[in-house]
Every structure is written in structure tokens, then in C-alpha cells.
Amino acid sequence: MRAVLSSEWLKLRSVTPTYHAIGIAALMVALGVVWTFYVSGLTAERGSVQAAAPEQAFLPLIQISLVVIGVLAITSEHTTGMIRSGLTAVSRRGALLLAKAGVAGAVTFVAAHVVILITYVVSWLIADDRPLGFNETVFSHDLPILLASGSSVTVLALVGLGLGFVTRSTAGSIVSVVPVLFVLPTIAAYLPAPWHTRVTALMLPNLVPQIAGQRPSRGFGDSFLPPWGVSAMRQGYAVIALAVGFHMLRRRDA
């Protein structure tokens, strides 16, 4: 298993898309700096501002860019034909899938948390003691939502990986992740009450604030999910996508 893991790690670290994806995710730090300076400038004329925290405002940027790492971990092998040598070398397909999930999961987990924490700290330092809305809480209060945001990226990357095993196509998997992240939550918001609140609470991006004990989304009622339900739901997305992916991988020829 160690050899499988190290081969997956080698595959991931030796291609440029991995670095492009992490590079785009890291843009969040720069955007956070610009954002905080801009919002700080507004306090001079308005006294105080209620601005969103940069690591929350720019979260979709990290999510969509790092999802690509999960997706490409498998679909690029189908594109190049590498999957055939991959499965010849590691004929236990479960091991291959687990190794890919482990490596893609770990890389996105570390990358997302590092980017989010740097953005948080930098914006906090720039904001100093100006009343900007997002910097008026202490770190221990913000920690749960920071961790929830970071790990949501990993969950999405694993969903992307699972869908990659199912569709075997880069375009297909990215397009299938997009509804999970953007389209379904939008459509759910248009459902008649009280269903919009119920369905919205189950949407993957809306699980992030719920983990920190907040409402699923602005303009909606309180969540009906208990805290354990929220984390089970979130893990469920990744587990189901990977399970379906595993089923397809095992049954199909490469």
C-alpha cells in the first residue's frame, strides 16, 4: 500500500495542473489583501463596515480550483492511457482508488487549510483594530468555520475524484461537480417554503456554515440538521461518490 501511495503521490506532484490549481487557489491570499485594504479604506469615511471575511467571500475560488486536482487524479489517466499501466501495476482496484483518494484528499486538505489560514491571518493583521465586521471575533470563535471551509474543499475534491471514476472524462466530472457546488443550491433556493430551507440545508456548500452552528445560507431559516447530521451529510457526499466510483471501477474494463 505504501508503494501505491508513493506512486500516486509521484503522479500528482510531477504534473503541472496540480501546481496551476494550487496557484489559482493561492490567489485568495492576494485577493484577501486587496479586499481588506479596500474595506479598511471604507472605514475612514463610514466609521465602521460590515464586510464578509475574505476567506469566506473567496471560498468558491479555492473549492473550484482544488476540485480539479481530485478530478484530474483519475481522468488524466484515462486521457493519456496511463490507467492501463496503472491497473496492470496495481491490480487491486480498491487499493488504487484508496491511494488516489488519500493523496488527493491530503494534498487538497493541506493546500486549502494553508491558503485559508494565511488569508485569515494576513487580513486580520491588515485590519488591525478597525471595525470591519469580520475581525471583531476571536480566533477560537472563527476556528470551527475555518476548519469547516478547509475540509469542505477536500470533500469536494473527493466527490470530484469519485465522479472522475464514474465518468472517466475530465469535462464530464467537472461539469458534474458544478451542479453540486453551484447549480443545485441555486435551484433549491427557488423551491417554495418550507422546502427551500430544508433542501438548502442539505446542499454541500451550505453545510460549511452549519458546522459552525450558523444558518445554512443568508435569508433562510434555522437548520433542522443536528450537528452530527451535518458532518455525516458532508462525509456522505464524498463516501457515496467514491463508493459509486469504486463500483464502476471494479466492474468495468480499463
Binding site: 475560488l61 469535462a171 467537472i174 417554495p192
Partner: protein
């Protein structure tokens, strides 16, 4: 004599461009992903009817006081994101799949001049978008109108003439996405990269812009692609994430820029780069 040669040259050029167009159409129609994408776009109509049917059922079973307060969005306007995204991906794949398979080398060996190839690709995906967008919009609209009837305070009882401008512009935003996808594909030559940027332009950047403090949220929100059809027809955008600062003509120009600018930039790169 001169006029004869020039006429025959014209004829040959026209034949050649017809052949290029035919070959691009063959490439699009002979792969499974195009069929899947177009089927998915048409599936939006079913999704719309399903949502309308569900909403109508809930409306009927709700007590009268809840009924009077119940509201429903115009489903064809909400669901247009599905065909937009689908056709955008089709646009991306028409060029990036050639880079994946290496087909691009054969394509450009047969037609060495870059412009005809790109024009033919743009014509094919643009025409598909032009057919698919209005079909999905009007299909969803008429079926939802039929299902919803006079429920939800008559959201679907406004005369068709009043809704026509919105339906047409929203439908026409679909070919814009197809061309935008194609342009991004030519520039980036990578499926993952182009689709991610497309999604970024459509979903991620508007979300970020919506979080900006005023006046920038309104200013930048006005040039976001999703808000442009509404600004062209002068809809009320106060409750959306988009701004509404542009007059209709300016909004139409910005929408056309989304379609054309990436293609022109891509064409320039395609002419300069080796395959």
C-alpha cells in the same frame, strides 16, 4: 479570363469553406459527448416541469393564508443555467478534445489557415446554441405555464407578449456561452482549465462580486454575464446578485463581447502558436 479565374477561385474558396464547415459538423455530431450534452440541455425542460408540478402540488395542499403569500420564480429564467453550462462545455470540447486526441494536428494539416477552422467551429457550436437556447426556454416556459396555470398569484398568467423579450434574450444567451466556451478552449487548450475558468466566470466571480462593498458590487455586478439578459430587457434585478447600471444597448454589447473577445484572442493565439 481574369474574371473567370477569380470567379472559379471564389467558387473554390466557397466550396472549401463549406467543406470545412461540413467536417466540423461531422466532428461534433459523431461523438457521444455532444449527444449527451444536448440531451442534458433538453432535459432542463423535464426538470422545469418536475419543479413546476411539485410546486403546484404543494400550493394546492397549502392552507389559504399560506397560498396568498406563496411566490414562485420564473422557472425558465432560473434553469437557463443548465443549457448555458452545457453548451459552454460543448464549445470547450469542440477544440480541447482535438488537443487531447491529437486530432488538431490532422485538422490543421488539412486546413492550414487557422481562421476558417475556427469560424467553422464557431458556426457549428453557435448554431447549436441558437437552436438549443430558445427551444429550452420556450419549452420550459410553455409547459410550466400549463402546469402552474393561475397558481402563485398568477406568475404564469402574464400575456406571452410581455414575456417574449425576456424569453428571447435569455434563450440567446445560450449561444453566447457556446462561443465563450470555444474561445476559452482555444486559448487554454485544456478541457479542465477551460471548463474551470468558464465556471469561474459564471458562478465564482459573481459570488465574489456580490460580497464586495458598494458601489463596486453594483458596478461589477452589472457586467457579470448572468445579469446581462435581464439588463437588455430592462427587468427588475434588485433581488438578484447582479447590478443593473447598464442601458440595454450597452448590456447587449457586453454580452456580445463575452462571446467574441475570447474567440478573437484565441484566433490570434492559434495563428501564432504551433499545434
Amino acid at each position: 479570363m481574369t474574371s473567370f479565374t477569380s470567379r472559379s477561385r471564389n467558387l473554390r474558396a466557397r466550396e472549401a469553406s463549406t467543406n470545412v464547415l461540413a467536417s466540423e459538423w461531422l466532428k461534433v455530431r459523431s461523438v457521444r459527448s455532444s449527444h449527451l450534452i444536448l440531451a442534458l440541455s433538453l432535459g432542463t425542460i423535464l426538470l422545469g416541469v418536475g419543479l413546476a408540478w411539485m410546486a403546484a402540488g404543494m400550493y394546492d395542499s397549502a392552507p389559504p393564508d399560506q397560498r396568498s403569500r406563496a411566490s414562485l420564480a420564473e422557472l425558465e429564467k432560473v434553469l437557463v443555467i443548465v443549457p448555458q453550462l452545457c453548451l459552454g462545455v460543448l464549445g470547450v470540447l469542440t477544440i480541447t478534445s482535438e488537443y487531447v486526441t491529437g486530432m488538431i494536428r490532422a485538422s490543421l494539416a488539412v486546413v492550414p489557415r487557422r481562421w476558417p477552422v475556427l469560424t467553422a467551429k464557431a458556426t457549428v457550436v453557435g448554431a447549436l446554441g441558437l437552436m438549443m437556447g430558445p427551444t429550452v426556454e420556450f419549452g420550459t416556459y410553455f409547459l410550466c405555464r400549463w402546469v402552474i396555470d393561475d397558481r402563485f398569484a398568477g406568475v404564469y398568467t402574464t400575456p406571452l407578449v410581455d414575456r417574449l423579450p425576456t424569453l428571447i434574450t435569455t434563450g440567446l444567451s445560450v449561444p453566447v456561452f457556446a462561443l465563450l466556451g470555444l474561445g476559452l478552449g482555444v486559448i487554454l487548450r485544456s478541457t479542465a482549465g477551460a471548463i474551470t475558468i468558464l465556471v469561474g466566470l459564471v458562478y465564482v466571480i459573481p459570488m465574489i462580486v456580490g460580497n464586495l462593498p458598494e458601489p463596486w458590487s453594483e458596478r461589477l455586478g452589472s457586467v457579470m454575464i448572468g445579469g446581462l439578459p435581464g439588463q437588455i430587457t430592462g427587468d427588475d434585478l434588485t433581488h438578484s446578485v447582479y447590478g443593473s447600471l447598464l442601458p440595454p444597448t450597452a448590456a447587449a454589447v457586453v454580452l456580445a463581447t463575452y462571446a467574441l473577445l475570447p474567440i478573437v484572442a484565441g484566433a490570434w493565439l492559434l495563428c501564432r502558436r504551433d499545434v
